[in-house]
Each structure stands twice: as structure tokens, then as C-alpha cells.
Amino acid sequence: LQESAILAFRAFDGFERDTNFKAWFGRVLHNCFLQRVRTANRRPQTVSAEDDDQLDALYLFDRTRQAGMHGRGQGDPAGVLLDALDGDQIRDALVALPDEYRVVATLYFVQELTYEQIAQVVECPLNTVRSRLHRSRRLLQRALWELAQERGLVLTDDPSSAKRPRNKNSSGLSSLLLMLLVPMQACALSCAGTTSKKRDYKAGGALYSYHVQNQPFRP
């Protein structure tokens, strides 16, 4: 929706005065949706070698530690991170995995099948399941971390987050855009005949105020 509002803002010159703004914005929204679907369909279903290189085995452990979430009295960092995300967000991250990883990951996390059972279901050798599961875990960890960053749930100076243009443009233009976005969103929602659903996101920085005792790991 925000993407649509930005597009509408850019294309506002094309809007004819004294015509139906809701209908015009509805068309922008629809075109934006179609564009997203087309982009998603073009997205490769496998992970590139470059991506693979960046997927270290302890991706989320390292990121949470860099973000200062492993201090004494801060609780179990994995649990704290997951508590800040709701089930739907995690489900979306799971569903967004490339096909070959999504299937095994769903069978593993949701159905809680063993490697052997997964191998039977997907009719693959056990080692293929093992390697796909290994990679799907790392991909999911990366997706969860990006999600936490997007939602402002973690504060980090991770260089990958600096690539996001939204973090750089905190100038007056952003403020102006925000002022336009709010009424446009309301307009689009009423146009689509929906009501705004309040999301249950925790406030930024909530992760840092979570205090429980660190529990030693007992395998």
C-alpha cells in the first residue's frame, strides 16, 4: 500500500482534477499489485551461489550477538526475537522460501517430521533432505532477521541494513511523503471497502527490555 502511495505521489501529475480520486488511486493500487505478482513470478526459485556464501551456519546467533542481545539478564535471544514476531509473520517468511526449501522446512517445523520421514514424503535421498534442511534453516534465519530489522525490532549497525534506501532518506522529503501517505492510505482503505487491522507489533527496542535469567544449555 505504501508503495502504491509513493507511486501515486510520483504520478500525481497524471491525475485529472474534478475526477474520482478514489477510483484513480484504486487503479494505481491494482497496477502495483499486478507488478508485485509479476515480479514474484520472475523471482528465481533457487538460491544463488553468492547468497549461499553469505549464509553462515550461525547467521542469527551472530546477528543477535552483534546487536547486543546476548548480554547478561537479557534472556534467551532466540526466544526474545521470536516473541517479537507474530505467527503470521513467521508463516509468511516460511512460505516465501524457494520451493525446494519451503517444502522440507514446513515438514520439519510444522509437521515436526524426522529427516527420514521427510525423505519418504518428498521422495528424495536422506542427504538431499539434510542439505536442504540445513540451507532452509539459514534462509529462514536471514528472513527473520530482515523482518525484525524492517519492523524496527532490533537496532543494529549491520552493513546490510545500510543498503536500504529507507534508512538513508530521513530528510524533509520523507516527512512530506508521510503527511501525504496517511490520508492516501485512509482513502485507499475506504476505497477497497476494508477497515484498518491493527497489527500487534511490539514497539522498537522492546527486545532490550526483556529480562529473564540466561539458562544454561543442557543437551
Partner: protein, 95 residues
């Protein structure tokens, strides 16, 4: 970082233990490998923290995804799997 073989004790070093992280947590290692990783975790606090993190993460993800609605194709697949697993389970003993 090195494999420790002292006084006949043969246990893994950090690298060997971490290479087996997923399989250890899922109990997919041989009994001997499982023992060696376990021994390493008793003496290496850093690795123990890493394993504990991954363990908590998998458990948390499983909890979080238990009650979410899956897309239709997965809902259907899940149903088939559950049925298949039920068929595998031995029935109640005949009296």
C-alpha cells in the same frame, strides 16, 4: 578448535562439533558422534551457547508455526502426511 585426544578421551573440537550442530539437535547422528558432541559441549561454553541458541530457535519456530494457517496446498499436504503417519502407527493390541 582441535580435536582433543587426551588420556584416551576422543571428543570433538569446536569445528567438528559445529559441523554437526543441526544433526545433533535433531538426534540424527550416530550414538558415538552424539556422545562426542555432547562431551564437547560440556567443556566448551561458547559452543554450548551456540547450540542452545539454535535449539531454542527451532523449538520457538515450531511453537509459533503450530497455530498458523498454511496455504491450501500445504494444508492438503499436511492432511495427507498425517493420514500416512497414522497408517504407519501400530494399532491397539488385540485382546
Amino acid at each position: 578448535m582441535f580435536r582433543i585426544n587426551l588420556l584416551g578421551l576422543d571428543i570433538y573440537g569446536c569445528r567438528e562439533a559445529l559441523e554437526r550442530l543441526d544433526d545433533y539437535l535433531d538426534r540424527e547422528l550416530s550414538h558415538e558422534e552424539q556422545r562426542k558432541v555432547g562431551q564437547h559441549l560440556k567443556i566448551c561454553h561458547e559452543c554450548a551457547r551456540k547450540f542452545a541458541f539454535e535449539h531454542d530457535l527451532v523449538n520457538g519456530l515450531r511453537e509459533k508455526t503450530q497455530h498458523v494457517a498454511l496455504p491450501l496446498d500445504f494444508a492438503a499436504l499436511s492432511s495427507r502426511i498425517t493420514q500416512a503417519l497414522r497408517k504407519e502407527e501400530p494399532g491397539p493390541p488385540e485382546s
